[in-house]
């Protein structure tokens, strides 16, 4: 059994049907979809039981019908993408920066770009956007059009 | 202090500085410089315009009804994707790299040569 399969099996036996989907795309690439309720537990499990310490980044995706928060973990060369599903009605997810401190900036970025509330994050101020950025305008959301974004920023400034 | 020896040796070497506007270095053979569009070969398919990452190429209507790309030098990033995308190989990269100009109009290359 390869290491990839082992990781998937361990997660499945721990969380059962809360793991919505697990796919090994190719060697060293694992995509796992989990329910929001076990998102943080799964990451804690990854850290304590398997030994994952490195988070490469957290990719936020606005998948029209829902948000996805995808931390990409790196473990012995394997990229583990652990997708947490976030419904649009209540965009919030637990912080993981207390489990893996390296996720601090990435969570801030997800927050300011998608407006997903990161519960328990110590500092959700702007990371990259300027101070006078319009409140409630989250640039990477799909319903924010590029032209509209441009108009709104310039309007705000004049 | 190994740097002392090195420094003294360098003091008597030829300078490494290239006095640019007065001395020029040859550019290599396949250098990606200013685009050259052969408007006789061009069929106006617009693939180059579609692939250009910086909108340096723009399709314009010619008097004879054909569409040909107009080339904005100042926007060009010299990636040569258009040269690659062109099905008729009408676009070539030339080794011309001194493209700064005082004249804004000089940075736009209008399509021509379609009447032939």
């Amino acid at each position: 059994m390869t290491l990839e399969e082992e990781i998937v099996n361990k997660l499945k036996s721990q969380f059962g049907d809360k793991i919505l989907e697990a796919k090994i795309q190719r060697a060293r690439r694992i995509f796992i979809t989990v329910d929001r309720s076990i998102y943080k537990d799964a990451i804690r499990f990854l850290k304590n039981e398997i030994g994952v310490t490195h988070v490469s980044t957290i990719a936020g995706v606005d998948a029209i019908e829902r948000f996805e928060v995808i931390p990409l973990f790196s473990y012995k060369g394997i990229v583990i993408a652990l997708r947490g599903l976030v419904p649009k009605e209540s965009p919030s997810i637990d912080t993981i920066s207390d489990v893996i401190p390296g996720a601090f900036f990435y969570e801030k970025e997800v927050h300011e770009m998608f407006g997903i509330d990161i519960k328990g994050h110590p500092d959700l101020s702007h990371l990259e956007l300027p101070e006078d950025w319009p409140e409630g305008l989250y640039p990477l959301r799909k319903d924010v059009d590029l032209q509209e974004l441009f108009k709104q920023i310039t309007k705000e400034r004049d | 202090m190994p740097i002392f020896g090195e420094a003294l040796r360098n003091a008597f070497q030829r300078r490494a500085t290239l006095l640019y506007p007065f001395e020029r270095r040859d550019v290599p053979q396949d250098y990606r410089g200013k685009l050259e569009i052969d408007y006789n070969l061009c069929i106006g398919c617009g693939l180059c315009v579609k692939d250009c990452p910086s909108s340096a190429l723009e399709l314009v209507q010619m008097p004879d009804g054909k569409r040909k790309p107009r080339y904005h030098i100042a926007r060009c990033t010299f990636c040569a994707q258009c040269a690659e995308s062109c099905p008729r190989k009408a676009i070539k990269m030339t080794p011309v790299y001194e493209l700064a100009t005082y004249n804004r109009r000089a940075e736009v290359v209008e399509p021509c040569g379609t009447s032939q």
Partner: protein, 331 residues
């Protein structure tokens, strides 16, 4: 009457203010050019033959630039510092012998006055930095004083070591005495090598050049105490710096390399002596530039540490040597 006019001309033109201003700018050019050559670059190139007029051009350009005084600055102090700095450095050069054994100003104990002037430079730097109301300037000012604590005593000791060779000619604390004492024997560098080395390092610190450019460390605190100076003020400050450079090179040449020894009598002799003086100063300058090229900037704590741990004992050692060795040789 004629004597007075000659004296005034001496102070104003040669070998006084004008000569040394010119020398300072030329020295800056030599410094930049040689530094560039050591780095395999060309340095100033286009202004004049081989960029010779670059320092002049820089001066003229800065004079024409807008002069900004920060809002929070102590204006009177801030504005007067460049003038004082220039005045002080021009005053200092009057002590240097250029074509004879003595400068325009010469009296017993003038070396002590020179030491005091060199310390005053740092006081000006400190005041200039502190009155700028900028954090960078403030840090730079603090650093300059800290640095002074490090190099001042070795500097004084090395100068006193140079004065010690006058013991067998009767003992003197004047530049005139030192130059005259060096006329007979050229072995001075043998005994004085250590003192000369210490003097060079201390001069480097006084001039705030690598490795001791700590008060104006570009990559750390922008331009240190000079950060807020601009326009005319900066031009004057830079001119003062250049004259100070020429002054310290000249002082090194005078104290340790024999200075302008009167080899021939008359006008011709004066010309030869002047050339001798300039050549010797340039030698000192080239050594200073080479030091600048071969080292990286130290940290302030390392600098002070280095000065007290090594420079200080060495300077005292060389003082002993300078006092004792002539006796041993002549025994």
């Amino acid at each position: 009457m004629i004597q007075e006019v000659i004296d005034i001309l001496k102070i104003l033109i040669f070998p006084g203010f004008f000569f040394f201003s010119l020398l300072g700018l030329i020295f800056e050019w030599i410094d930049r050019k040689f530094y560039a050559r050591l780095q395999n670059r060309v340095g100033p190139l286009y202004t004049g033959p081989r960029g010779f007029f670059q320092p002049f051009a820089d001066f003229v350009k800065l004079m024409a630039k807008e002069d900004v005084v920060p809002e929070g600055a102590e204006k009177p102090i801030f504005s007067s510092i460049p003038v004082f700095a220039l005045a002080l450095s021009l005053f200092a050069v009057l002590f240097l012998p250029v074509y004879g054994t003595q400068g325009i100003l010469s009296f017993e104990g003038d070396i002590i006055v020179l030491m005091a002037i060199m310390t005053l430079f740092v006081v000006l730097v400190f005041l200039g930095g502190l009155s700028s109301a900028s954090r960078y300037s403030e840090v730079g000012a603090e650093r300059s004083i800290l640095q002074l604590l490090g190099y001042e005593i070795p500097l004084v000791a090395s100068v006193l070591g140079a004065a010690a060779i006058t013991i067998h000619t009767g003992g003197s604390l004047s530049i005139k005495g030192i130059v005259e004492a060096q006329s007979g024997w050229w072995s001075i560098l043998g005994i004085q090598a250590l003192g000369f080395a210490i003097f060079l390092l201390a001069a480097q610190a006084e001039l705030e050049r690598v490795p001791f450019d700590i008060p104006e460390a570009e990559t750390e605190i922008v331009a240190g105490w000079m950060t807020e100076y601009s326009g005319k003020k900066l031009a004057l400050l830079r001119l003062a710096r250049d004259i100070e450079l020429a002054f310290l090179c000249g002082l090194g040449a005078t104290l340790f390399l024999g200075g302008p020894q009167p080899v021939l009598p008359g006008i011709l002799g004066a010309v030869v002596s002047t050339i001798l003086f300039v050549v010797k100063s340039v030698i000192v300058l080239l050594i200073l530039t080479a030091i600048r090229a071969a080292m990286s900037r130290l940290r302030i704590d390392q600098m002070v540490n280095f000065a007290w741990k090594y420079l200080m004992p060495l300077s005292i050692l060389q003082l002993f040597l300078a006092v004792l060795l002539p006796h041993i040789i002549t025994l």
